[in-house]
């Protein structure tokens, strides 16, 4: 019989070759009774547990979900019943906040469109975040779908098929310039009337998508590829961040800014609102077209 060191016995015990309760001799080579299953080695007990859990889960889950749904519906209905009536006079939301926006908005921001004044001047920090949400979304989709391997552009069979469609190409040829022009109008007119960067950019993006559907991506690619996308977003968002940083800094420290409201109603007025609308519009248009292009063919 061979004596073994403590270390070896410990190791053998850990590997289930050696049962401390039965053996005191320390002979590692003697055949051993079938060991109780070690859960760290064998999958079986955990597997059985998991199956049982799944079965219980699939039984209990619908019942719990139904109870939760009913409770939540009842609770929210009670809440809605308790809410101040929508659109009535003297609701709590009709307080000094919108009063100042409506009364002084034009004088303080220079924007005839009060909404533009609120989102790009009074609450510009929110909009700064919001325009970066779009950029974040575009980058996230790029991470998910951008395929780096087949960089070689190949003619899309659907593209060829679509291009033969006379109705589509003729209508698109007529509509796309008008749509894009209207988008630019909405974009530039954002501080004077309904519109602004988000809506104008969405219209331009829709025009670009229609063009891509009718005439294929190849022509658009000369102007709008991943590189130009990145540069456009970089310039627009950096301009947005830098100018708003300057404006916030001046506001917080009580300094005078070089941007003045100007004469309300003129196209070059309202300080930063017009350039910010353009920056937001460019980002929105790029994001919309970019998302379509990535989902359609895996690249921009």
């Amino acid at each position: 019989m061979k004596k073994t060191s403590f270390r070896e016995r410990f190791r053998a015990w850990d590997e289930d070759r050696f049962d401390l309760t039965e053996r005191t001799t320390g002979d590692l080579n003697r055949p051993m009774r079938p060991a109780p299953t070690d859960r760290t080695v064998s999958d079986e007990p955990v597997q059985r547990l998991a199956v049982g859990e799944m079965r219980a889960f699939s039984r209990i889950y619908p019942i719990l979900a139904a109870i939760l749904g009913v409770v939540l519906i009842a609770f929210l209905l009670m809440t809605v019943y308790d809410l101040p009536p929508f659109g009535a006079a003297n609701v709590p939301a009709d307080n000094e906040v919108p009063a100042r926006y409506v009364r002084d908005g034009m004088a303080e921001t220079g924007a005839v469109n009060v909404v533009a004044g609120v989102i790009l001047d009074y609450r510009a920090f929110d909009t700064l975040g919001e325009s970066h949400v779009l950029y974040t979304a575009l980058t996230a989709v790029l991470i998910l779908l951008l395929s780096l391997r087949d960089a070689e552009p190949e003619p899309d069979p659907e593209d060829v098929l679509m291009r033969r469609d006379g109705i589509l190409t003729t209508t698109a040829a007529l509509l796309v310039p008008i749509i894009v022009l209207f988008g630019i109008y909405v974009l530039l007119n954002g501080h004077l009337g309904p519109g602004g960067g988000f809506s104008g950019g969405a219209i331009i993006g829709a025009g670009l998508i229609l063009y891509a559907i009718a005439f294929g991506f190849t022509r658009l690619e000369r102007m709008l590829n991943l590189k130009s996308f990145r540069i456009i977003c970089l310039v627009a968002l950096c301009f947005y961040s830098a100018s708003k940083c300057y404006s916030f800094f001046c506001g917080a420290n009580g300094l005078h800014t070089i941007f003045s409201p100007g004469t309300p109603g003129r196209i070059l007025s309202a300080g930063l609102i017009l350039p910010l609308n353009i920056a937001v519009g460019v980002v929105v248009a790029c994001t919309m077209y970019g998302l379509y292009s990535i989902f359609q063919r895996g690249r921009i």
Partner: protein, 496 residues
Amino acid sequence: MAFSVNVPLFAIVLCLVCSVVSSVLSGRAARRLSLALCAVVAVGMGMLLAYGMRTGVGTTYLMGHYPHPWGNELYFGVLEPLLLCAFSVVMGLCLLGGRKHLIEDLEDGKHRMYYVMSDLVLSALIALATTNDIFTGYVFIEICTISSCGLLMIRQIGRTTLASIRYMIFSLIGSGLFLLGVILLYAITGHLLMPNLKEAIGKLYASGQYRIVLLSAISLITVGLAIKSGLFPFHFWMPDTYGYATPASGGILSGLVSKGYIFFLLRVIFRVFGTDVFYRSGVSNILYVFGAIGIVVGSISALREKDVFRMIAYSSAAQIGYVYMGIGISPRLGVLAALFHILTHAITKPPLFLSAAQLSDTANGRLRANWRGAGHRNRIAALTFSICAFSMIGIPLTMGFVSKYRFAAAAFERTALIVPTLIVLALSTILNGWYFMRVIIALYLPVNRDDGAQRSALRKQGVYAISAIVFVLMNIVCGVAAEPLVLLLERGLGLL
């Protein structure tokens, strides 16, 4: 007004600009930019912390020319810069320590996008921790949600894709509930800025008007943020999300992102609802109960897990339970303990993921069964893992001990909660000890020297070793000299 008060504005804008600039840089340049950004933010927040300590008052910072209730604002005292300083240091160390696996896990052309996302996460954390406007909070919650999904799914294997779908769904439900709560608050108060909301809510509570709407707004906002941070029973996205992400992302998501949501919830409780209204509404008791159950269930799930990464992730669910239990106990000592635990977890969990990744490389697998003797081959990773595991268990000289002590001390503020809290703490310590010690013992089991395994030398580990050593030092220093940190947190809590 000192220059330091501009730090949060510059930090947020700098993060946004860096993230946009990163998209045109090479992966390596973007990585350096990101690390520099973390360092700059940490230094700036340190300056702001010094300023806050010197003046001893909270600062309201106008974002533009219009004060509340019209324009956006930031608010910060001592707590915000302290946490943000820690967060940016932890983020920098995660990016450093996870570099090897980032290079392995990511597709070649996509490295820069990783840093775009990590910069955005940092900007969202800063904005969430400093904003004085509840809607701005929502906007940056969106940025945080999307970019953390990006950090998760950039490792493109089936598991992470599945995990990010699940994470996205849970996270969006949370955002949706939060937004619903904000809408309800706006409908009954007409404000979005925190000071005005608090005043209006105080009046409404005193007059008894809109009682049901107020209660449902409080519960929707609390539940929304609780889902996003992974409180039981909404923790089922955690094991896959943290376990299969690339280790740096696992560290950032578990250590920082979920803490960002919790800290925002704390700010909402203190600065919007007011502690009186919140703690009388009964929602705090629900948080306590679910936190306590979460601790036990998370630990038991971790015990049953054989994959070490998923085990650490389940342990995160338990740690989130601790934080919510603390919030549920009381607005003073309970929240203090919760804040300390936020720091503890942010400093302890990322190195666990990072060293687990290093160890699983030497051990040829993620299962505990494969880890026998891995500690002899990669000593620095094993030592880091052990010390951080000790901290999670709550062994003295580490931060974990101080936070458990604080939770126990907080329980004595409410007589009814003493026994259940102590039972949960004891039970969880046993369970934590059980599942972590099992791994540590496996790590240090004797192995045959001639089995061909190479020992990784310290110098070969490079940046991982630096990040691991800094993490461990931070943990031990904060664990030994916890009293100043607690005083700092207490002072910050007074300014919240």
